[in-house]
């Protein structure tokens, strides 16, 4: 039957197409890793020779160490703030019976949807006025703003995924609102909160635009240092940094997968929330 022959060819063409797309997705990441082991000091691919000198150079370089430390010093608190505020927002819009809930949601999610460059040049004078410019707190606040929607989306999805009657049941059992939240709601949405928090951290970790405006040489983060180095010196040191960051990101992803295994309904919504990371460079 000619139908099967042509459909088999179509299936084959489909598979090839998909394969090419997958290769396209992984390509740049795969180029950088071997490059970091090159023994030559110019960027080339395939890399010439094998050497760990770039990694060794990193170990002794305080600029990179400080930048990495700064990324954590800013990212972790920003993630915590995003988690606290994002969870509150999600609880209010999902359980609150608010009339303007949809408008509220649109406003809460806006920092994720609108270009970060605008927020950056807007926060600059605000931080200047508050005396927080170029300090850690200013950067933390800025990163928290863009992390908040991620936590919100993640926790909203988690709240939607489980039975609201559970909270009613808790109340008939004698738990007031605070206690029914602590004992019933919180354990159920724990995964959503955690996932959102990790995403907020990852977004902060990769955020360039805000750091360009809100940090200085003392508080600059990894992306900002990479950016400066890229424009000035192009050596495989960048590749080594990139590989390390890559490894770290994989670890975060793995952590997320491990936690996510015990949650129902989380994978797609979390994957969706993952869809908002780090693009707003």
């Amino acid at each position: 039957m000619s139908g099967t022959a042509s459909s088999r060819m179509a299936r084959w063409a489909f598979a090839v197409f998909v394969g090419l797309c997958l290769a396209y997705l992984l390509l740049p990441s795969l180029i950088i890793v071997p490059m970091s082991f090159s023994s030559q000091s110019y960027l080339s691919f395939p890399p010439a020779g094998f050497s760990l000198r770039w990694y060794q150079g990193l170990a002794g370089n305080s600029a990179w160490r400080d930048a990495a430390a700064n990324s954590f010093l800013i990212g972790v608190p920003a993630a915590f703030i995003a988690v606290a505020l994002g969870t509150l927002s999600a609880l209010a819009t999902e359980r609150g019976g608010l009339r303007w809930a949809t408008a509220g949601v649109a406003l809460i999610v806006a920092p994720m949807m609108l270009p970060h460059v605008i927020l950056a040049i807007g926060l600059y004078p605000v931080m200047l006025d508050l005396g927080l410019l170029h300090g850690y707190i200013g950067a933390i606040i800025g990163h928290a703003v863009i992390g908040l929607p991620l936590v919100f989306v993640s926790v909203s999805a988690a709240l939607r995924n489980y039975n609201p009657a559970l909270e009613l049941a808790a109340m008939t059992c004698g738990a007031d609102r605070v206690r029914s939240f602590l004992h019933v709601t919180l354990p159920m949405i724990r995964i959503g909160i955690l996932g959102g928090g990790i995403l907020a951290f990852a977004t902060s970790f990769d955020e360039l635009m805000l750091s360009l405006f809100l940090t200085n040489t003392g508080t600059r983060t990894l992306p900002r240092l990479i950016w400066e180095q890229l424009n000035d010196f192009l050596t495989p040191t960048i590749a080594a940094v990139a590989t390390l960051i890559f490894a770290f990101s994989l670890l975060l992803l793995a952590a997320l997968a491990v936690f996510g295994r015990s949650a129902r309904g989380m994978p797609t919504s979390l994957a969706l929330a993952t869809a908002e990371t780090a693009a707003h460079g």
């Binding site: 950088i32 209010a92 999610v109 360039l208 960048i238 990139a242 797609t268």
Partner: protein, 288 residues
């Protein structure tokens, strides 16, 4: 236990009483650190250096700035369309996969997402530079005779941006495709629809919420995108965010940068509102 004092006359207890208070801390936070900065940018564009729309006259005047804005929109559009074309079959394959194959495919999609954008753009720089991978390949295959200057260039920007944006198109598509009720497809089979009709008339329409979410996300993100166009585009293909950063950080022309930023903001906000209206607030991007 009911207390004797709880007589009639007090208003009935409501479940949602006080829930709006939960929004106060995040609301205040966003008000001060998101909406207020946006207002300041918009204000600055019409207050400095003098009152008036002088900055906007410059933006829309005879200079290159309108072209930049136009290029931004155009590039964002092209990137979105290309992403959709590539992502749809890929998402279809992932949505239908199960078990280990599913996990493997998801790794392919998620790993680039979790790799820093700066790093991936850097990777494309290596591919497109004169001494780079692509030129090596073209030379060795005999397709060119000299090394091409592709970097900076619009091809590099497009390829790079599509690469970065692809997962953002794939994930909403996967989510919506996996949500399609299989019994609907089986019903179509039973009712006699050939595979391509089943796809066109049942599957495709049901996947549209994912399509619109992906399109909205990719388009709006591309409009404001900085890193990849900055590294791969240069003066040839300049996009709005790159221009704004340059004007603000390098030339320190804040009022003008504010005007450009406000224009970009208005365009993006208009699209956001259109998207909200179309989906009536029910979108996976909003968590609902």
């Amino acid at each position: 236990m009911a207390r004797p004092g709880d007589a009639a006359g007090r208003r009935p207890w409501t479940l949602h009483r006080g829930n709006a208070l939960l929004l106060v801390p995040p609301g205040l936070f966003l008000l001060v650190f998101f909406f207020w900065p946006l207002l300041r940018v918009m204000a600055r564009s019409v207050i400095e250096p003098e009152f008036g729309f002088e900055n906007y006259a410059r933006v829309f005047g005879s200079g290159p700035y309108v072209r930049v804005l136009w290029q931004t929109i155009e590039t964002a559009g092209i990137v979105t369309v290309l992403c959709l074309i590539l992502a749809y079959p890929l998402a279809y394959a992932v949505a239908r996969a199960e078990g280990t194959r599913l996990k493997l495919l998801m790794i392919f999609v998620l790993v680039p997402l979790w790799t820093s954008v700066v790093i991936r753009s850097y990777g494309w720089m290596i591919v497109f530079q004169r001494q780079g991978v692509l030129n090596d390949l073209l030379l060795s295959l005999g397709l060119t005779e000299t090394r091409l200057t592709l970097l900076p260039g619009s091809l590099a920007v497009h390829v790079g941006m599509v690469h970065i944006m692809l997962p953002f198109m794939i994930l909403p598509l996967i989510a919506s495709m996996r949500g399609i009720d299989h019994s609907l497809l089986r019903a179509a089979d039973v009712l006699g629809a050939p595979p391509h009709r089943r796809f066109l008339e049942v599957f495709l329409p049901l996947s549209l919420p994912g399509v619109s979410a992906g399109v909205a996300l990719v388009f709006m993100t591309s409009l404001g995108f900085f890193i990849t166009p900055a590294l791969l585009g240069g003066p040839q293909l300049m996009m709005a965010a790159v221009l704004i950063e340059e004007k603000a950080n390098v030339e320190l022309d804040w009022p003008f940068a504010s005007a450009l930023a406000t224009t970009l903001l208005l365009i993006t906000t208009a699209l956001y509102l259109v998207y909200l209206r179309l989906t009536r607030g029910a979108s996976p991007l909003l968590g609902r």
